[in-house]
């Protein structure tokens, strides 16, 4: 298994995929933080009340600080894209022939991709979180807030982010194994999470918790430390559901791939 991970990581890091995705994700996180501080400047809600710092507009409660740190959770779709790209890149550049010669049992090929996707998805979460801590910390310090208080909340946010990113990278590989055409896979996955799911969830409200996006919302509650949205599963139920989506996609994808002629 170590050998597979080393081989897959070497393959992944010698493409531009992880570097481009991480860069865009960091830029977007920066924008989200900017928006956050602009909104806070207008006076955001104080979740826990209690003793206030000199400037009430600067995030200071545990919940506020966690919200700030957890901003990256909102762009978990990058982890999904990472997973999609990890597997579809082999088809796009026709490197899949070599991959199947090396690993002729195709479910094992998909399994290797799931593994590296989970690991690199978790790594992407760490990168985004690191960016948030540095960027958010500087902004906070500039506004007279406490960097130490922000850093103290890392432990509360980190597990949820890592979990959600890793799971969505797995879902991405599952989707990519079904839809090996890279462009199609990207369009479908983005289209689903940005458009289709919102429509379905809007029409049949009861279904929201069962859909991948709803499950993602539930899973991110691990970071938020409570139920931010009613009608959703608990964080671990949501996580299991996401994993299930990923594995079901990957299982069907493996079957389809096994029958596929690589010409």
């Amino acid at each position: 298994m170590i050998a597979v991970i080393r081989a897959e990581w070497l393959k992944l890091r010698t493409t531009s995929i992880p570097w481009v995705l991480a860069s865009i994700a960091l830029v977007l996180t920066g924008l989200l933080m900017l928006l956050y501080f602009v909104n806070k400047g207008a006076g955001g809600p104080d979740h826990q009340g209690g003793f206030g710092p000199p400037d009430p507009n600067v995030p200071h409660t545990a919940q506020q600080l966690r919200d700030l740190l957890g901003l990256g959770v909102n762009i978990y779709v990058f982890a999904l894209l990472l997973g999609v790209l990890i597997i579809t890149v082999e088809f796009r550049h026709k490197t899949v022939t070599t991959a199947f010669l090396v690993t002729p049992r195709r479910p094992l090929f998909v399994a290797g991709k799931l593994l590296i996707a989970a690991i690199s998805g978790a790594a992407l979460a760490l990168v985004v979180l690191t960016g948030t801590v540095i960027g958010g910390g500087i902004a906070l310090a500039a506004k007279g807030g406490s960097f130490g208080a922000l850093a103290a909340q890392i432990g509360a946010v980190l597990p949820g982010m890592v979990l959600v990113y890793a799971l969505f990278a797995v879902v991405g590989v599952g989707l990519g194994s079904l839809l090996t055409n890279q462009v199609a896979a990207i369009v479908v996955s983005l289209g689903w999470f940005l458009i289709v799911e919102n429509i379905i969830g809007g029409i049949w409200t009861g279904t929201a918790r069962w859909l991948p996006g709803g499950a993602a919302q539930a899973a991110t509650n691990l970071s938020a430390g409570g139920s931010r949205q009613i009608g959703l599963f608990s964080w671990w139920q949501g996580s299991l559901l996401i994993l299930l989506y990923g594995l079901v996609f990957a299982a069907i994808g493996s079957l389809v791939l096994t029958r596929r002629d690589i010409t």
Partner: protein
Amino acid sequence: MTGPDARLALRSCMPTAIEIRGLAKQFRSVRAVDDLTFEVAEGRVTGFLGPNGSGKTTTLRMLLGLVSITKGSATFGGKRYVDLDHPLRHVGAALEATSFHPTRRAEDHLKSVALASRIPLERVDETLDLVGLTEVARRRVGKFSMGMRQRLQLATALLGDPEILILDEPANGLDPQGILWLRTFIRHQASLGHAVLVSSHLLSEMEETVDDVVIISQGKLVLQTTLSDMANQAGTGTGLRIRTPEVDRLTAVLDAVPVAWRQTAVDTLVIDRATPEWFGPFAAQHQIVLYELVNERSSLEDVFLNLTQGFDAANPMESGAGQSAPFRTPGEPS
């Protein structure tokens, strides 16, 4: 096991590395490969020949588990490729239309394959050296020329030091020096006792490289034989080309003997299956002036083209001696 074909029986003393039995592939409405049977012996180079689109690549891809098999079997020592424990340590394949990730360096490509196949990483430098790519090991493959890609394919195939090599059109994109190098390389592999199956649409490219030939056309086997056998057959398809100012006198005396001839130019005749040893004294006896006396051997390439073009796909084996028909010339002596 080897079937009724005498040629296979002849070769049965040699250990078999690859066995193709009744192999067939149906792509929707197209029968790409049909009832193909042949084998590849250890320590020999087998040329897998046929025109473009004759089913060579599909056959190789079925053998390697990349394309599903409609009927029949394709095995290495009785095992399918998927069932091999460490496939790359037994079978090295360089296939056409395989690609590399453009931003990946040659070295990293080989390393990733070695890691996944549990091949010691020292092999990466060894194989790069073997194919002459050491100097560009750190270069991104996207900047490689066609010839360099072919070499990198070969390096990938050699990584596991396999005893069986499968090369699909390896000469494509190589310059003349490259082809010479490839020839030496392939002969060297065979001298190590490895079995090499190499496909090509040009026999002339492989003439000096292969020991055995397997010729297919439209997905069907046309001929499996040894190259020397084929060369002999090519040699027997001879004619004697004669240029003479006395065409009329010559044809008159030729009509008296049982040979077939045809006039190919105003002053030129071709006598089928005649030898200079027979014709020289014959001409002297009749005092015919000759300007030119040439033994016309059909080249291997001619034979190959005849076999693959004149091959009746709808009626492959039923034509009796269909395989040797192209060698026979009408009206041979006695």
